[in-house]
């Protein structure tokens, strides 16, 4: 068997195509981004080495504060809406004897399979100040709260984040639902027999046991929020002005319309660092959680 599984030619033929392609398209660009973040570079010539000055410039860039703030708000909306509301919906859906559970789950999931372009343009119409669904609905029930949802700086970032939260709610819901279903029913039943209320049992048993699921959902939501881009691009072009900029939007603008590739690479390295930091912190939090339990 040794020469059979140790067949050098077969190993090369099977492994090399994947490894080479992956190295060329994924690894090489990552290294290149890191390397070029220390250069003043327009993407064509050799560029000039300028040490850490791209990073120094980044921390003086007023767009950075805007982008971090927006990334934070975006992530917060996703966490509250998808994980907060999603957990409640998943618990109820898993618990109650309910007709049409299948229909509910399909309905929640449908927006996930739609193209982000369709979803964003649909919501542009929904947010339309005069003819949109939201303002019309407020009008119908007599609430005089009309808004230019996408052009007023105060609410537009939340309105945009909500679109993303709405589209991928079904995804997070499925993860949470699967997490709940993976816990043996006897645990909750035993607690109820011991005199716990249904919701008390969920709070003390189901939710702590779902730590792994929550960890993954949080990482997806928070890194997704920090890296958000497409919704801003389609719905407001990052505006009004630069109020809806995010880190990815900065990368996009500096690289592809101002041709400051070196600086844009520094922003992208910073984005990765922030995402990694968030992931590490979430992992830490959940490790402590498990020890106390």
């Amino acid at each position: 068997m040794r020469h059979y599984f140790g067949n050098k030619w077969a190993i090369a033929a099977f492994a090399l195509p994947a490894l080479l392609l992956y190295s060329l398209v994924v690894s090489y660009p990552v290294v290149q981004s890191l390397y070029r973040s220390f250069f003043e570079w327009d993407g064509i010539g050799a560029g000039t080495f300028n040490g850490l000055s791209n990073y120094a410039e980044l921390f003086r860039d007023p767009l950075l504060a805007t982008s971090l703030r927006n990334g934070g708000i975006f992530a917060l909306v996703l966490v509250v809406f998808q994980i907060g509301l999603g957990t409640i919906l998943a618990l109820v859906c898993a618990d109650i004897k309910i007709k049409g559970r299948k229909v509910l789950k399909v309905g929640y999931f449908i927006p996930v399979v739609l193209s982000v372009t369709v979803v964003c343009q649909l919501w542009i119409a929904i947010y339309d100040p005069t003819n949109g669904l939201v303002n019309r609905l407020f009008e119908l029930v007599g609430i005089p709260y009309r808004q230019n949802w996408l052009t007023s700086p105060a609410v537009s970032i939340i309105a945009i984040a909500f679109v993303n939260a709405w589209q991928f709610m079904g995804y997070q819901f499925s993860l949470l639902y699967a997490g709940i279903k993976s816990i043996p029913e006897q645990y909750v039943e035993a607690a109820i027999i011991d005199g716990c209320t249904k919701w008390g049992a969920h709070r003390r048993i189901t939710i702590p046991l779902m730590a792994e699921t929550f960890k993954f959902c949080l990482i997806v939501a928070i890194t997704g929020g920090i890296g958000a881009f497409v919704q801003m691009l389609i719905m407001t072009s990052g505006g009004p002005g630069t109020t809806n900029f995010t880190l990815t939007y900065m990368i996009y603008r500096y690289a592809f319309s101002e041709f400051e590739y070196g600086y844009a690479c520094a922003v992208s390295v910073f984005l990765v660092a922030i995402s990694l930091l968030a992931t590490v912190i979430i992992n830490r939090l959940f490790r402590q959680e498990r020890m106390t339990y």
Partner: protein, 278 residues
């Protein structure tokens, strides 16, 4: 399942159905306005079912816009990418799951790291790479990166699957004199077919809806995929809501129909990543 029907549970069920409406009504609204004229959309009947069907919106949309073109582009790119990912990752996974070579553990970890690399840090050098290889505005500009990005996830799923196959299968094939290639394609590949379905759905859907890379790498009208092509209706035809609705409905229909038929498989395929990444 201990609870009997109580007022509280009716309230909670109500919550589930309210969110169901929040989730589905915008799409229903899009389909209804795709069948209305502006008078109905804006003035007489903004919320409900269209009173007079305006199917001409669809005829217009199909004739005027490049929808069939975008459709074909999306189909070609997604189908070839999916096949490429399947082929390369099943071969790679086999070498790290079974074959004996010195760097196999290193190769496996090297590949897994790819799942944690955000697209944003790759996109600038990748755009330059694509330009240098003269791939800009070709199918290759999307297919090659899509295959590469799909490899880590798919390899990991195949790897997990192959570890569960008893090695005796290959041993007996070896005794019978089959070459390693023959064993791989005739025995291993048919066994991992369930994983193929999961990965194919996941990758096809991902490529079909991919926006960011396509936006950066494709500018030629004739090469645009659906997510990209649809983007320009907003600016150009922002007063023709009916037409826009029709185009967006046409573009969404295939995916939604596919999902309705295979909802369980699609859901499983899209959420299986959690087990891997977490």
């Amino acid at each position: 399942m201990l609870t009997r029907i109580k007022p509280g549970s009716i309230l909670l069920q109500g919550l589930l159905w309210i969110y169901f409406i929040v989730s589905v009504y915008p799409l229903f609204w899009m389909i209804t306005y795709s069948l209305k004229n502006n008078d109905q959309i804006f003035v007489t009947n903004p919320f409900g079912i269209p009173l007079h069907m305006h199917f001409e919106n669809y005829v217009h949309a199909w004739e005027q816009f490049n929808v069939p073109r975008y459709f074909v582009n999306s189909l070609v790119v997604s189908a070839i990418s999916t096949c490429g990912i399947l082929l390369l990752s099943v071969m790679f996974a086999y070498t790290v799951a079974r074959m004996e070579w010195r760097l196999r553990e290193a190769a496996r970890i090297y590949m897994i790291i790819g799942m944690f690399i955000p697209l944003q840090v790759i996109m600038i050098p990748l755009a330059i790479l694509v330009k240098n290889f003269h791939l800009t505005n070709t199918y290759g500009a999307l297919i090659v990166p899509y295959i590469a990005f799909g490899l880590p996830f798919s390899s990991l799923i195949f790897y997990g699957f192959m570890r569960t196959i008893p090695v005796e299968l290959e041993e007996s094939a070896c005794m019978d004199g089959a070459s390693i290639y023959r064993t791989f394609f005739r025995i291993i590949v048919p066994i991992v077919r369930p994983a193929v379905a999961t990965i194919a759905i996941f990758q096809f859907l991902g490529a079909w809806n991919e926006f960011l890379l396509a936006y950066i790498l494709i500018s030629d009208e004739a090469m645009k995929t659906l997510p990209l092509g649809l983007l320009f209706f907003q600016g150009q035809y922002s007063t023709d809501w009916g037409g826009m609705g029709a185009v967006m409905t046409i573009a969404s229909l295939p995916m939604v129909v596919m999902f309705l038929f295979f909802s369980d498989q699609v859901e499983r395929a899209l959420t299986v990543g959690s087990a891997v990444k977490g």
